[in-house]
């Protein structure tokens, strides 16, 4: 190339792009600078390892192809994929095409406006293939834009009942994004029409346009327009939801390098908040929306409030933390953890809790019924019966009542006091010399596993019973009843225990399916995590969940959580039992 291609209309694009890149570089450098030292070391260690490769793979699968959104709905997945992957193809193929033409050296705006600078049918290696490929990629993006446009009017088109209510700034940037691709189509078609070039899309459209429109007057303004909408989009990106495009990649790298959300590390939280694309997939998953028509507390709106420095106290507290949103979040944001971090701590640090566990004993197996276990005596009695039959040397740690596991306190934001409760129980458990800790309550189970650092085997009673059945220590007879299983939030989505309860239940009853199972299971509404929802509303949720569970008229709704049992049994006529109770009953009928 003899002379550098330049025209003044490239300036808006060049300016917008340069400012955006400078801003992002500074922002990311600042984040890394603020990370605690051990996290910096993790980055250093992870940078030249397989972890970075894995992150690149994940970026390709999730940020470009949007595999997780495809799993939610194929149409929605296609919409996001066509926009992201289509644009990616335009950039990559365009860059290859332009650099092949220029022989390697060209200014960075050159590929973007290639058709303007090289309007005729240039003849270089594979040039005709590039033209058609570029048109195909543009068509792919335009399909996505068309679907996104339609979604704003009727979100059902892409399988969403509700889509995010956007604020003005997001809308402005959204429109500039939508305009980029039609502008490009028109600009390229005009140039193609004038010079009799172009691929199957731009070439054809250009020829048609050349019959009816004065193309020579349109060409220049259209390229200006294309450059300006790109500039608006780039400048609006950092303050709009589109910040998610660059930030999600940072999040994926951070996650793969092993950086975790911790109390002393607010950086990852900021990265997560900026990674939220406000796609609104969480909205349809939230039972507060679908069952109670509460429409301001869903994860997308909560994160938006944090980002805009608006008061979010009510939203932080009004959440069941059932995890249904997080389980489908295409970005994998730790929504419950962020919500929990944002709850206020009203307990002064210097408060010392004056109680302790009353008793101490030695045993191989320690059984912890938990507060909720004591609220449902049938469950703890059944467990005592099972433990006695197992022949294991066991101690019912909180038989006379004891210190709470600390998770309810933690969920309510009182983190220092929660730590005190955990320390008390931890000491008691360790002093007992036990190798196995069995608990009936998934709320306790999760905190024992995640926060207690016990280094002994921690089992939910469904896991424990499954082991007993497998080893033959426990003999049961199958009952002639049809049972449906309700996955408790804390046990299923919270701890990933889906199969063990089903295995146990199918050994003692005939297990049937329900429409919302495993990851899609509904919350019973009793959740301790929601601090403000009135009890009448909770009951409303329970009734609707019970309706879904009993749709096939089972004889029994079986669950594995005392709180779920307590909540559901008051919400319908069908018998509700914990799996431990069913097993204890099946032991009698020998």
């Amino acid at each position: 190339m003899t002379q550098m291609p330049f025209d003044i209309f490239v300036l808006p694009f060049t300016l917008g792009m340069s400012l955006l890149f400078a801003y992002l570089l500074l922002k990311y450098a600042h984040w890394i600078w603020l990370l605690p030292t051990d996290d910096k070391l993790r980055i250093l260690k992870g940078f030249f390892s397989q972890k970075s490769l894995r992150a690149c793979g994940e970026i390709f699968m999730e940020s470009l192809l949007h595999r997780k959104i495809f799993r939610v709905d194929k149409r929605l997945g296609f919409m996001h994929m066509s926009l992201a992957f289509g644009w990616f193809l335009l950039i990559v193929i365009g860059a290859i095409e332009a650099h092949t033409y220029a022989g390697g050296s060209a200014p960075f705006y050159f590929p973007i406006f290639f058709r303007f600078f090289v309007p005729y049918e240039a003849d270089f290696f594979l040039s005709s293939v590039y033209v058609q490929l570029m048109d195909a990629a543009l068509l792919l993006v335009l399909t996505g834009v068309g679907m996104a446009f339609a979604k704003r009017f009727k979100s059902n088109i892409v399988g969403m009942k509700k889509t995010t209510k956007l604020r003005r700034r997001d809308k402005a940037v959204l429109y500039s994004l939508w305009l980029i691709f039609p502008m490009r189509l028109l600009a390229e078609s005009t140039t193609s029409g004038l010079h009799n070039s172009g691929g199957f899309l731009t070439g054809t459209l250009g020829t048609i346009m050349s019959y009816i429109l004065p193309l020579q007057y349109m060409e220049y303004p259209l390229w200006w327009g294309y450059s300006i909408v790109l500039c608006i989009f780039f400048l609006g990106l950092p303050t709009s939801r589109y910040m998610h495009i660059p930030t999600e990649m940072v999040l994926i790298f951070f996650r793969n390098w092993g950086i975790k959300l911790r109390p002393d590390n607010p950086i990852l939280e900021e990265v997560m908040i900026l990674s939220c694309p406000r796609c609104g997939i969480c909205i349809d998953r939230c039972q507060l929306n679908t069952n109670l028509n509460i429409n301001d507390t869903q994860a997308v709106y909560f994160l938006q409030r944090i980002r805009r420095n608006e008061d979010y106290t009510a939203q932080a507290n009004n959440c069941l933390m059932c995890g249904r949103c997080a389980s489908v979040c295409p970005v994998g944001i730790d929504l419950n953890a962020i919500r929990n971090r944002r709850r206020l701590n009203f307990t002064p640090k210097e408060v010392v809790l004056p109680y302790d566990n009353k008793q101490q004993r030695q045993a191989k197996v320690v059984y912890f019924a938990g507060c909720m276990g004591h609220l449902t005596p049938h469950i703890k009695n059944a467990m005592v019966k099972i433990l006695q039959a197992s022949g294991d040397d066991f101690w019912f740690m909180d038989e006379e009542g004891g210190v709470c596991c600390g998770r309810p306190m933690k969920l309510a934001g009182q983190v220092d006091a929660a730590r005190q409760l955990m320390d008390k129980n931890r000491a008691t458990i360790l002093q007992s010399g036990a190798t196995v800790l069995v608990t009936s309550c998934p709320i306790c189970y999760k905190v024992f596993k995640e926060e207690y650092n016990l280094n002994i085997s921690i089992l939910h009673h469904t896991e424990y019973i499954e082991q007993l059945l497998k080893s033959g220590k426990l003999k049961v007879t199958r009952q002639d009843m049809m049972a449906v299983y309700h996955d408790p939030c804390e046990l299923g989505r919270g701890s990933g225990i889906y199969e063990q309860p089903r295995n146990v239940l199918s050994a003692v009853a005939n297990l049937t399916e329900s429409s919302n199972e495993r990851r899609d299971s509904l919350c019973c509404g009793g959740s301790l995590a929601n601090l403000t929802l009135p009890s009448a509303k909770k009951h409303e949720l329970a009734k609707q969940t019970m309706q879904v569970l009993t749709a096939n008229n089972p004889d029994l709704v079986a669950t594995a959580c005392p709180l779920c049992k307590r909540t559901l049994q008051r919400a319908g006529d069908t018998l509700v039992m914990d799996i431990a109770e069913v097993v204890a009953k099946a032991m009698e009928c020998k």
Binding site: P354, M372, E400, G401, C404, T532, S535
Partner: protein, 118 residues
């Protein structure tokens, strides 16, 4: 001599009592107004099983605007939520405890500000 003594006479002057804390709690958690003092919460209480913590009594003290005992006891609650589950009136007692703690924290903050101002 026998471990008994005459109780101090006590009178509550509602007009003079400081109701800032209870007013805040009632505003934030109006369900507390429906409490009929049955004591179900207190009988199931996990913390009350271990130490003197009587949420029913604390409610009475709160309503009277006598906060010194409330300030001592309110942090003994483990927030396990059993009280809220058993409450026949659907009072969100757990939130009452949280809101009381919040109101105490706010009142102490504003006291500190007042002292600084003087």
């Amino acid at each position: 001599m026998w471990g008994y003594s005459i109780a101090k006479s006590q009178s509550i002057v509602y007009d003079q009592n400081d109701r800032t804390i209870i007013n805040y709690v009632l505003e934030q958690e109006p369900s507390l107004r429906t409490c009929m003092a049955c004591g179900g919460c207190t009988s199931t209480c996990s913390a009350g099983n271990l130490v003197p913590f009587n949420i029913r009594r604390l409610n009475t003290l709160l309503q009277r605007g006598e906060y010194s005992q409330v300030k001592k006891e309110i942090y003994n609650c483990m927030l396990c939520g059993k009280c809220t589950i058993v409450c026949p009136r659907g009072v969100n007692i757990r939130n009452v405890v949280l809101k009381t703690r919040e109101a105490i924290m706010n009142s102490e903050k504003s006291d500190a500000n007042d002292t600084n101002a003087i």
